[in-house]
Amino acid sequence: MFFHIVLERNMQLHPRHFGPHLRDKLVAKLMRDVEGTCSGRHGFVVAITGVEDIGKGLIREGTGFVTFPVKYQCVVFRPFKGEILEAVVTMVNKMGFFAEAGPVQIFVSNHLIPDDMEFQSGDMPNYTTSDGSVKIQRDSEVRLKIIGTRVDATEIFCIGTIKDDFLGVINDPGAAA
């Protein structure tokens, strides 16, 4: 889910950037450093929407760098346990399938896929119901529920399920005619 939050960060600036455009350089550095990163607490920082406040700079002893505390607003994307998401399937194998929702990867294990869906291998591996009416393959859109999350250094990885009511395929690209 997307959130709009205010975060704070200490930015270090090299003296060569000091001058009339100090603030602009600080903001540019903030955007370079922060946009696209991921943390366990806040999720992916998708975009910075504004800078609220830049505090007074503190010169660090021993080096000429100056540290500025910067408060900024940003849009973050963070998946939560219990959240319902619509994701696009990227890969299907006999262990389950991988899907993507925004910057987040989700894995749905075959144990969390309804029992009436079987894995079919082939050129386009997929999960299909016994009567062939519902198919999950690459590029299918599925609605799933997140049941667990893990955060690495640079990305968030989730486990999902489609075994509950109102979950499963929304849009099957193969069926579009």
Partner: protein, 225 residues
């Protein structure tokens, strides 16, 4: 030691692993003293400052949340962002799969519906087009993917009316996170909402009618595709 019964509520959290960040402390001092008698292992929630809890929790980076969340985010994300809602320790029984946003993000976090996020990100992208002429500036991949995701999930033409319709539900106890979930799911029936957002089930009696009305309003607002 029978502090458990003596404090006027039943079944406080048993002294489980130190990894758990129990948030029972909405009851205040009573909880802390009960726990201290039991030989607490780690001082996570002495005085019940939820921010301390959530910060400590986020340190357990590599673990799946399922491991350490058994009933410990006792608030279970109910009742809006005010952490001091006083939800009791009975919440151990609550499903693990309920949305518990409020405990894990800073208090000033504002939940965005996909359509609102799409608007904001679209605006930023238009500015970025100008910035991208500078070769040193790269548009980060999460931004692109986030924007695509928000646009794809965007079934409504007017985020403001959508927000107005759903904010009505806060009067009946729905939290911000739950409202955003409802908007993102695009439900067709009330049963679908209660099945997908189990935390609303507790307030089913209060919410059923307003939810029905809200859904019919949403149906009118949906883009005809």
């Amino acid at each position: 030691m029978s502090e458990k019964g003596g404090k006027g509520y039943s079944a406080p959290k048993a002294p489980k692993s130190a990894l758990k960040t129990s948030q029972v402390s909405s009851k205040g001092k009573d909880d802390s003293s009960a726990k201290s008698k039991r030989g607490r292992k780690v001082q996570f929630d002495n005085e019940g400052t939820p921010e301390v809890n959530s910060r400590n929790f986020s340190d357990f980076g590599g673990k799946f949340e399922t491991l350490s969340s058994k009933g410990d985010f006792g608030k279970a994300g109910k009742g809006g962002k005010t952490m001091g809602e006083g939800k009791s320790a009975m919440l151990k029984d609550r499903s693990k799969l309920e949305l518990r946003i409020e405990n894990e993000l800073p208090k000033n976090a504002k939940c965005l519906m996909d359509c609102e996020a799409a608007d904001i990100l679209q605006g930023i992208q238009e500015q970025m087009v100008l910035l991208s002429e500078d070769p040193t500036i790269k548009i980060p991949a999460p931004f692109d993917r986030g924007l695509q995701y928000a646009k794809r999930g965007n079934h409504y033409s007017d985020p403001q009316s959508l927000r107005r319709v759903l904010d009505n539900l806060t009067k009946y106890g729905a939290s911000d996170g739950e409202i955003c979930m409802i908007a993102n799911i695009c439900p067709e029936t009330v049963d679908e909402v209660f099945a997908l957002v189990p935390s609303l089930k507790k307030k089913e009696s209060k919410l059923k009618e307003p939810l029905k009305n809200a859904l019919s309003e949403l149906a009118k607002l949906k883009d005809s595709t």
